[in-house]
Point group: C2
Chain length 98, copies 2
């Protein structure tokens, strides 16, 4: 969840939504160096949001279904809670008598 705090990492994840990519291909689409992308990928990997797989010379990165799913679970709780809160807020907004 902290892993998505950085805009570049969010962009990487969104790019990976379209399918796995090797590091080089990924790096071409960003205005920074390849090692910078590698470091971001390491963070995403620690957060279990991506998985990597060597393929000959290159190393493909892809989204990790399990990680994305657990993130979704977190937000699901969040929305549910939020909706309840809004319902209460609406009730509270109804002035008791004043």
């Amino acid at each position: 969840m902290d892993a998505l705090g950085d805009p570049t990492r969010r962009a990487i994840v969104e790019r990976l939504l379209e399918g796995p990519l090797p590091v080089g291909e990924l790096a071409k689409q960003f205005p920074m160096s390849r090692p910078a992308i590698s470091q971001h990928l390491r963070i995403l990997k620690r957060a279990d949001l991506v998985i990597d797989r060597p393929e000959g010379n290159r190393r493909y990165y892809a989204l990790n279904p399990a990680g994305v799913e657990s993130l979704r679970a977190y937000f699901d709780r969040f929305w549910t809670h939020a909706l309840q809160a809004f319902a209460r807020a609406v009730d509270a907004a109804r002035p008791p008598s004043a």
Copy 2:
């Protein structure tokens, strides 16, 4: 979305899920100074995730339904996209003939 990058801000938002609170009450629940909380609230406010309303001496902060909803919309697109990507990945994993 950047606004949720910080753990303290996530904690604030989660705390506000239970209802509106004045800054002082909010700050009591965190190990840092009140101004620090004020600054986090400013960021959350710029992100349209919270709204504030003065009530006599105190200033109440509450979740902003519109902001939370737009965040939800973002993630909905995300999950949808992700599921499609996983479906494709499963297909790709099915070896063509080898």
